[in-house]
């Protein structure tokens, strides 16, 4: 088995070999192929979105995805929820000495697939190799540029009391898959990470409906994103527990492990705020997509002070806050 050596990162012959053997076959495109110091391109007029994110997921490979797919989808999704079509990405790889080349190649392959799905090109890349123990196997940073095509106004300041809150599908799958993998539990029955590119769904609704706010529910899960929205809008957000889409496996494992699924990360779900009269049409449109099949209206905004209120199935109310610390299973 061939392993990544420190020499693969020294910029010499081994680095070239790494690029031509592992990265070029999968990620190659004319712009990247020029191997210049920077990618050169022009953008049509309008607003440009720029974002960056780093990925340090453990394990690197998990049911439904891997760090490569995550690195492309994560950054492309941050652009998409800003209403911007993802165009170009950069990718920085920090590799631990000793990582099997085969695994790196698998990561490159799934980045290529995810980029195709999101409609983005990876136009600049960098690799560094760090000594054993300095990095946990592989870290990836991606930055992305996207562009808003339509004249739209998105943001917490656009949100009004009475607006409906939509989530694009069942929440917590990604977080649960990772938690279960780390604990050596087989989630069984094909529970997969929800990791996916959201632009195909978003570009479908953004022009036809008066969307007021969007955000992807990543770290901190659905509850944290909703709380952020409530605080930023200065309104109370009331969520109906029964309306929140949850897979049976996620519900049961969460119960068993003593974690709250509303705080588990997603990597392919977003929330959207729309005027109440448009909500069901948006949900119907999302249902046409595989990734949007579980979309549902889960709550609404009302006058208030930035609280997130969960109406439980018993008719009680729970006040939810931001995620505190890491997910830690309870014994009691």
């Amino acid at each position: 088995m061939e392993l990544v050596q420190l020499g693969h990162g020294d910029g010499g012959a081994l680095t070239r070999e790494l690029i031509t053997r592992v990265f070029e076959p999968h990620l190659g495109n004319p712009m990247l192929g020029r191997q210049e110091d920077a990618a050169l391109f022009s953008l049509p007029g309008g607003k440009v979105a720029l974002t960056t994110d780093s990925f340090v997921v453990k394990p690197l490979f998990f049911p439904g995805g891997d760090i490569g797919k995550l690195a492309v989808c994560g950054t492309a999704n941050d652009l998409a929820v800003m209403g911007a079509r993802p165009l170009y990405l950069t990718a920085g790889f920090i590799i631990e000495e000793g990582l099997p080349l085969e695994e790196l190649e698998q990561v490159a392959l799934s980045m290529a697939r995810a980029a195709a799905a999101a409609g983005v090109k990876i136009v600049a890349a960098d690799t560094k190799v760090a000594e054993r123990g300095a990095v946990d196997r592989l870290f990836i940073n991606t930055s992305g540029i996207g562009q808003r095509e339509a004249e739209i106004s998105l943001g917490a300041e656009m949100v009004r009391p009475g607006d409906s809150v939509i989530v694009s599908g069942p929440v917590g799958n990604h977080g649960m898959v990772i938690l279960a993998s780390r604990m050596g539990i087989n989630p069984g029955n094909g529970l997969l990470s929800d990791c996916a590119c959201l632009w195909p769904l978003i570009c479908e609704i953004i022009e036809d409906f008066p969307i007021r706010f969007m955000r992807d529910a990543t770290r901190g899960g659905l509850a944290t994103v909703l709380k952020e929205l409530a605080v930023a809008a200065g309104l109370d957000l009331v969520v109906e527990e029964e309306k929140i889409p949850l897979c049976r496996e996620v519900r049961e494992l969460a119960e068993m492990l003593g974690v709250d699924p509303l705080y588990l990360a997603c990597e392919g779900r977003f929330i959207a705020v729309v005027p109440p009269e448009a909500a069901s049409a948006v949900v119907e449109r999302l249902h046409r997509f595989e990734e949007g099949r579980g979309a549902a209206i889960i709550g609404r905004l009302q006058e208030g002070s930035g609280r997130l209120l969960l109406r439980t199935s018993f008719g009680g109310t729970r006040v939810l806050d931001f995620l505190r610390g890491q997910h830690i299973p309870r014994i009691c």
């Binding site: 199935s313 018993f314 008719g315 729970r318 009691c332």
Partner: protein, 347 residues
């Protein structure tokens, strides 16, 4: 819920009836479903000392935290213990400073951990009540059978009946009845709690963990109160028997002997902990490493009035430490550690 309200009306007075849910999971269910608030006009649920990690004394945690910072030591613990603060921070904070701490989900995971880390001394910080103690007993039995030399256990296990006895014999305060922990009772058996009614005159119901179980137990307690009856009933028969789980009790009796234990905010309680018997001394981290609990600076324990808060004798703000020396970030007593605890929810 309608039934609970109508039962409440059959009792004298207008105030909500104080009921103590002993177990942390019941507290969690009440919080998660919003039942605590929903029934607030009829019943005042009061969280008892039943969150097994919350009752771990800060001095025990300090000992563990200092130990975890030593070379060639790997501390294994259940997840929720990692966050519970001692006087010198939590295990999680110490992890950031370089302490080697590993999260386990089952006591038997520690066996694998010890095998994978042969050059480390793996110490399992064993917490929990009768629910998790049998698992620890099994771990010690298996470690002995496998002849593992790098595995030991720091037993911080606590027993529920002695704690309830101590808490309630100091005066029952306003508590009208207890909802007893279903999982603990599955091991001990319902009969182990008979003394509550026969000796202390306190009615109690063993309950399961579905929201309906808790509602049912509440209704039973109010029914008994209305009829002036005092007994320990079992509303979790699908899991809890009269005698409990004999195999689990045997494993515990083989490895452990009751000893005095320190409870956060409640002080030392006779026979409420589980010490490792001399026959298994080789697996006792206290003996192997000469571990001694530290002393809390400022003698916080002497002035914490958790016991009285739990009994309902005083309200949280009446405790001199409340909001000053004792806050959710620096809890002195069990009522402040858990988010469902009486002091934490008052804060």
């Amino acid at each position: 819920m309608r039934r609970i309200r109508s039962l409440r009306r059959r009792l004298p007075g207008d105030d909500p009836v104080p009921i103590m849910e002993v177990c942390g999971t019941h507290s969690h269910v009440l919080g998660k479903t919003g039942l605590r608030e929903l029934l607030g006009d009829a019943v005042e649920y009061r969280s008892g000392p039943g969150c097994p990690v919350c009752v771990t004394d800060p001095t025990d945690l300090d000992m563990l935290v200092r130990f975890a910072l030593q070379e060639k030591v790997l501390v294994a613990a259940y997840g929720d213990l990692l966050r519970v603060p001692g006087t010198e921070g939590s295990l999680l904070e110490q992890k950031a400073r370089g302490a080697r701490v590993s999260l386990v989900y089952s006591a038997l995971d520690v066996l694998e951990l010890a095998r994978q880390n042969e050059k480390q001394q793996v110490v399992f910080a064993a917490t929990g009540f009768e629910t998790t103690a049998p698992g620890t007993a099994l771990l010690i039995l298996e470690a002995k059978a496998a002849g593992l030399k790098n595995l030991s256990v720091l037993s911080l296990h606590k027993l529920m009946p002695p704690a309830l006895r101590q808490l309630l014999s100091a005066g029952r305060g306003r508590i009208e009845g207890l909802i007893l922990p279903g999982h603990v009772s599955a091991v001990t058996g319902r009969r182990a709690f008979d003394f509550l009614a026969s000796e202390l005159g306190c009615r109690a119901v063993v309950a399961g963990f579905e929201p309906l179980d808790v509602l049912h137990a509440t209704a039973l307690l109010l029914e008994m109160a209305a009829a002036g009856r005092c007994a320990v009933a079992n509303a979790y028969r699908r899991v809890v028997s009269e005698e409990g789980n004999t195999a689990a009790k045997e494993a515990m009796a083989e490895v452990f002997a009751p000893e005095a234990a320190l409870w956060r905010g409640l002080g030392e309680i006779e026979d409420s902990g589980l010490g490792i018997k001399p026959g298994y001394a080789a697996f006792d981290a206290r003996r192997r490493f000469g571990l001694e609990p530290g002393r809390a600076p400022g003698g916080g324990r002497e002035t914490c009035r958790c016991g009285e808060v739990l009994r309902g004798a005083i309200r949280p703000p009446e405790c001199p430490l409340f909001g000053t020396k004792c806050t959710p970030a620096h809890p002195q007593g069990v009522c402040m550690v858990s988010t469902e605890g009486a002091c934490a929810s008052y804060f």
